[in-house]
């Protein structure tokens, strides 16, 4: 049986026509016959402006196909793309699942890359009510507090962590607000979205970037100032109820931003960020913790249970960069990494869809599998450009989803013979790896981060691109996983199967992918005070040889369209306290565990995220990992089809509730999440 993008049955003949139409369109482009006049001359376009429907040459039909690569495995060459191969930058030709529209045309590389400002602090004196260690019982101008329990830092470690009202000047007040912006593209109308307002820079999305330091505890009062939840204030998606998670932080659970600790407008949560290394309470590393657990590139985002995909899509995301006396943000000290923020730039990737008639941001509310956009945004702008000097830069790449995986290449010489330029991988999930690794590409999935160094000195005067060459057709994940690249010999099971078949490249040819960000490298030589990655070493990896107290197994599966972990579904178990009281298992404080993540489905990739502690990947299908991005410390691990991944954990320092979940936020919102606890005594549940 054959289906069109609306999921409606079509005849085999009609399906062939649809495929043929896509092919026609490519040929038309190749032939340069693209103006209305040309098309009309050929009888392909009627005077009314409608493309001749009987051949299927419609706006929707073109999204049916990806230009097939030449047959055979040799799809990745330096051969210049034939004309027509290099499709319009940003016009994603992927097969988008039904019920999705195609965005209006936008012109790429006309808007400079915005760099989010460093988050501004707010004086403690303006906090009303004043912060308290226990959840605030009085309300004030900031509203009333919704927090699960007392701050563990000053409560359990009083000598080490100051009280909530004694953090010096390290306070932030972040309002979540609705606002209107023209930032995305000059061709699109103003958009009403959600963002963070630090009180100085006004509301923005992505939110301001925190510049945080180990050893300096800080607090953010996250205030829900979104529209009244009981009124129609909505542009068609988003639920103005929030819980802001600081992703990857080694944070106490009451400040973690648990998905079940959400609150509506008029309420706030004081989130105490101790900025302390894991292991600080074990006695093994003094009171400062294990330097080899240093974190660098974190992010914050809404985590409201069942609505995270909508709320993050609407803008509730931002960066949190954490420094110490080695990773200082100053290239004249420590590891001599490029200086923040001039040469150390966070890049926030997201893909989005806009309504063809109104031009406004739309979200497929009724999707269960995962959502792909046909517009690629970096720091909130569709395909921006960045002017750089011919020197080294550190970029912190973050995939905010909702469901897109990327494989980024640095492509030069785009107009004639595209080149692939090497760069340095220095961090996985934002944490520095033991030593830089030179790579030609890097893959990230939803919620993953990589830190890279690009040395533009050899590219002076050139224009180069960050290009996503990964083929992804729907929310299932990329066409093939790293371990299967170029060996794929079966047809891909999607509604586009007829088009994709064996010749669909997992990785597109140079220049044939999505050009996401343009770098304009100036020609004038400059001084570079940062260290050569070849000569650098960073932290060592913590050992993974401890005997685990327990090995737990987590099967990520789909039961009648219901996303599950070990056959069970998300359950906040919100009790009389107003907070979650149910959880699936208990980890023992100061113990090591192995977690086996399994995925027996043949066609879904799940980026699995675990809060509180990082992990290291011990094996994929019983073999040691080989891909560079698998070799560091992680907080999100891609669980590929038919895979069993073994992770090593140490659980320390903070107690109580955290989740494990799929970070394809559409899966997460449809119950692929479980709550667990860490307490003084753990349980022995092997299959929670």
């Amino acid at each position: 049986m054959y289906y069109n993008v609306f999921g409606e049955k079509v005849s085999k003949r009609r399906f062939k026509e649809m495929c043929e139409a896509a092919k026609n369109r490519r040929e038309l482009i190749a032939a340069g016959l693209t103006s209305r006049r040309d098309l009309m001359k050929m009888g392909l376009l009627t005077a009314g402006g409608m493309l001749v429907a009987k051949s299927g040459l419609s706006a929707r039909a073109q999204t049916q196909s990806q230009a097939p690569a030449p047959a055979g495995p040799a799809t990745r060459t330096n051969k210049p793309p034939s004309s027509g191969q290099n499709t319009s930058p940003g016009t994603n030709q992927n097969c988008v699942p039904g019920n999705q529209t195609q965005s209006p045309t936008t012109k790429p590389f006309v808007t400079p890359l915005p760099i989010m400002p460093i988050a501004a602090k707010t004086a403690l004196s303006t906090f009303d009510p004043q912060p308290t260690n226990a959840p605030n019982t009085s309300s004030g101008a900031d509203g009333s507090e919704h927090r699960a329990f007392t701050h563990q830092g000053p409560d359990r470690f009083p000598g080490q962590f100051p009280n909530a009202n004694a953090l010096g000047n390290n306070y932030y007040k972040f309002h979540q607000r609705q606002f209107t912006t023209n930032q995305m593209s000059p061709q699109l109308p103003a958009q009403t979205i959600w963002g963070f307002d630090d009180g100085t820079h006004g509301p923005m999305s992505p939110g301001p970037t925190y510049q945080a330091f180990y050893g300096t505890p800080q607090m953010t009062r996250n205030i829900n100032s979104l529209p009244n939840i009981n009124q129609v204030n909505n542009t068609g998606f988003g639920f103005p109820s929030v819980s802001t998670h600081l992703h990857n932080a080694h944070n106490p659970s009451e400040s973690d931003g648990n998905p079940c600790d959400f609150y509506a407008n008029g309420q706030f949560c004081d989130q105490y960020y101790p900025n302390v290394l894991a292991g600080f309470s074990t006695g093994q590393f003094g009171t400062s913790g294990d330097i080899n657990e240093s974190l660098a590139t974190l992010w914050y985002h809404d985590h409201r249970v069942d609505f995270t995909s909508q709320n993050t899509y609407k803008g509730l995301t931002g960066f949190y960069c954490l420094f110490n006396n080695l990773d200082t943000g100053d290239e004249s000290t420590g590891f001599h990494l490029p200086s923040f923020p001039a040469f150390d730039i966070p890049l926030h990737f997201s893909d989005r869809v806009f309504d063809p008639n109104t031009g406004d941001l739309v979200f497929d509310l009724f999707n269960l599998d995962g959502i792909l956009g046909d517009k690629f945004l970096v720091n909130g702008v569709i395909q921006p450009f960045l002017q750089v000097e011919p020197r080294r830069y550190r970029f912190r790449l973050l995939d905010t989803g909702p469901s897109r995986f990327y494989q980024f290449f640095l492509t030069g010489n785009i107009s004639s013979n595209p080149t692939t330029n090497p760069f340095w991988l220095i961090g996985t999930d934002g944490n520095l790896i033991p030593a830089p690794v030179q790579v030609t590409s890097v893959r990230i999935g939803p919620a993953e981060r990589v830190d890279i160094i690009i040395d533009f000195s050899s590219l002076a005067g050139q224009t180069v691109y960050l290009e996503n060459r990964l083929s992804q057709l729907n929310g299932q994940g990329p066409v093939a996983v790293d371990s299967q690249l170029f060996t794929q010999d079966e047809a891909v099971n999607t509604e586009c199967s007829g088009v994709l078949a064996k010749t669909t490249p997992a990785i597109k040819m140079a220049g044939a992918g999505d050009l996401v960000l343009q770098f304009q490298v100036s020609g004038k030589a400059v001084r570079d005070g940062s260290a050569d990655p070849r000569t650098q070493t960073f932290y060592s990896l913590p050992t993974t040889t401890d005997t685990p107290r327990i090995v737990r197994t987590f099967k990520f599966d789909r039961l009648n369209g219901q996303w599950s972990i070990n056959g069970q579904f998300m359950d906040c178990g919100i009790g009389p306290s107003g907070f979650s009281e149910k959880f699936r298992f208990t980890v023992q404080e100061n113990s090591s565990e192995h977690w086996l993540l399994t995925n027996l489905t043949g066609d879904w990739t799940h980026p699995v995220h675990i809060h509180l502690e990082e992990h290291q990947i011990l094996s994929r299908n019983r073999k040691a990992p080989t891909v560079a991005t698998d070799l560091g410390r992680k907080d999100v691990t891609q669980l590929h089809p038919n895979e069993r991944v073994e992770l090593f954990f140490r659980f320390r320092d903070w107690l109580h509730k955290y989740p494990i979940h799929c970070h394809n936020v559409v899966h997460e919102d449809h119950a692929m999440m479980a709550l667990w606890h860490i307490e003084a005594t753990g349980d022995n549940i092997q299959v929670p």
Binding site: M1, Y3, F6, G7, E8, I29, T34, L39, G49, M50, L51, A53, A59, Q62, N86, T87, S88, T91, G98, N99, T105, K107, F109, V110, T111, P112, P186, Q187, P189, I229, Q231, V232, N234, G236, F237, F239, S241, D306, F307, P356, T358, G359, D360, L365, F366, L368, D369, I414, S416, Q476, E495, L559, N560, G561, Q562, W563, F569, D571, G573, H670
Partner: protein, 227 residues
Amino acid sequence: MSDFSRRRFIRLTAAAPLAAGVLSSTALTETGKSFSPVPGKASPAAKAGRSFVPMTQEIARKRIQEQHLPNLPMLTHEGKRVLFYDDLVKDRVVTLNFFYSHCDEICPLVTANLVKVQKLLGAQVGRDIHMYSFTLKPEEDSVDVIRNYRKKFGANWTFLTTTPDAMEKLRKAIGFSYPDPKIDADKTQHIGNVRYGNEPLMYWAACPGMARAEFVAESWQWMIHPR
């Protein structure tokens, strides 16, 4: 051509001139000439852009209705004729799920679980929240069959049937389909989720029909008393 697909057809027609726009902009980039415009300066053509229909909340609501809540004719377990959007969903907090009477695997579990949820919600069902279950096999499940099915489980919400064609449209419209057509056609693997939403406030989500009944009830309360 039914009303529903005609609307789609009209939408496509409206979008068609856009296709030409896509093509010509592609051509621009194909030539390689105007690939990187003067930094920071949008070209006059780019600035001019195209005109859009101004966005309103009414358009947002109508868009959800047109794409996902088709106004299809339905028959209730009492044999009453209703229209899906106008009579069942509009201005209401609703839950939507699918079953069929001869389903041996997932349906009885989901229906039994929803009966538990119904008991937890008590008098709110039919007043503050409207629960609807739709048969995936209308060709087998007549009004009598679904009435008996409902009675057998002790369900007090509304069960519905319609023509196979209309039901298939509804299923796709509310997104209860698989990307793989082979799996999608296998009714034993049908989607066991329950869509829940507040139509006038445009809040929509879904939960597994087999999730713990107390949590299902809790999540539906977010639509009745948003928080």
